[in-house]
Subunit: 281 residues, 2 copies
């Protein structure tokens, strides 16, 4: 494999890659996004994500050789960059010195990356995020969904970009593997989920709603909707869902953080499906 | 009430207050900390936290009059500051213009702020955080604990400061009300909890450990230990606890985010105590 050396901060290759860090539009136009860090880049390669280019420093090569080799095997282009160039490609304070320009995966109608094994469509559990804007929250929700075995998500409205650097890192690579579909608004998402015979539940901080513990997740297909950090779900989403559910609270707090609410919902979906007693591994 | 006007950024009163934002040592020496924002400040006053000083801008007074009045009633000193001074007292990008210097609450041997209603010591459920260093994680854990009715926490080792601005904000004021005890290491904490007949469980990402769903939280007193974001619990903590528990996983992810793990543990404690069906309010 040919490795090109880059010594100048003005390299157009570096500049193009760096532009993918900033704007969702840039990423979506190009169909490319940036992954950073030894582990995340190796995870991308191992999950079948196509690597258009890999950038690495000599120090990173020494320190993370095993991870880097996994990436270099599949990368279309490879660049050894000088240390002073790494910060240009980085979204973190202390870059490890390994960066990949990844191709957005082709997805099936289900939102799954092509090649991923689909779960049973007859008993599907999924999470819908509406207008969730904090990338740390979204990344964490994706990580938790994968850990608990919920394979399908939908992003509705003005959610933050799935391929934003913080979402990728927070997700611990789950973005590469989960099924994610995007919808411009609640109505269009509901119409698709209804067509798939998935029952939609709106999570609301309202003691009059059905407790999440009362939902028979064991049978049928379910989607629980989680809303924006400050404002919750839109009226459109709430009125379009089949029922409203709530996480029972006891204390003085008025609500949960969005990613905490999502975690408890995901856990209940998994617990309710009789899998709470199974161990991982 | 006398309201002093402050027009200079060099005001020593402002400088002293601002110094509380930066360092845990400053806060702990002075026994003071800073709360910021209309709601959080009103929450501090409403929770019985003593307000040594309140700073507000004229704009904030117009916009958040009701919140501010609740604070001004109990504040020992009050300062109307010019708009350009607000950023000095702020830890956020867009300060609302209301700030309080609060006195750290006196706490009982239980860690509860003096005056708070203690729960039943015969069936106590508590969370222990060891070396949890991210203030957003810690703030979120405290918020979730309060929402689920877990009143007691312990901080062990090198946790981030309970009174750091991000912890306060993330906790949505739970810091003002929860019982929090601090220990220099796992052994000293275990010795106190053992003395109180509390069974300690170490949360580990290990499929060989007891699933959290198998713990009979309904009876007896329990403490679940959650470790550092990257390294988990120390060997000292794990070997000192009575048992190891795990959150069963299904997917490829190797672990949960610390605050997600804490949320699921807190939820199971509450669910296990037969309170999952209760609604809030």
């Amino acid at each position: 494999m040919q490795i090109e050396r880059i010594t100048s901060r003005k390299s157009p290759v570096v500049r193009d890659a760096a532009s993918l860090l900033q704007k969702a539009e840039k990423r979506s136009e190009a169909g490319l996004f940036m992954a950073e860090g030894a582990r995340l880049c190796a995870d991308a390669a191992g999950s079948g994500t196509k690597i258009a280019a890999c950038f690495f420093t000599e120090n990173a090569q020494k320190k993370y050789g095993a991870y880097l080799n996994a990436v270099l095997k599949t990368a279309e282009r490879t660049y050894c960059i000088e240390e002073h160039i790494a910060p240009l490609l980085s979204d973190t304070k202390n870059p490890q010195g390994i960066f990949c320009v990844c191709r957005m995966p082709a997805r099936t109608a289900d939102g799954l990356p092509v090649g991923a094994e689909p779960d049973n469509p007859g008993s599907r559990r999924m999470l819908v995020l509406e207008n969730v804007q904090d990338p740390s929250n979204m990344g964490n929700v994706l990580r938790t969904a994968e850990a608990l075995g919920v394979q399908h998500l939908a992003l509705v409205g003005a959610c933050c970009d799935l391929y934003a650097p913080k979402v990728l890192r927070g997700s611990m690579g789950a973005v590469f593997r989960l099924g994610v579909r995007q919808f411009s608004d609640a109505t269009s998402c509901l119409s698709v989920l209804n067509g798939e015979k998935i029952t939609s539940l709106a999570a609301v901080p309202d003691s009059a709603a059905t407790p999440i513990t009362a939902i028979p997740f064991e049978t049928g297909s379910w989607a629980v909707w989680i809303g924006n950090e400050g404002n919750g779900l839109t009226a459109q989403a709430i009125s379009g869902c089949h029922d409203r559910v709530t996480i029972p609270m006891r204390g003085r707090a008025e609500s949960f953080n969005a990613s905490t609410a999502a975690a408890i919902v995901l856990w209940e979906m998994m617990r309710g499906a009789g899998e709470g007693e199974k161990k991982h591994g």
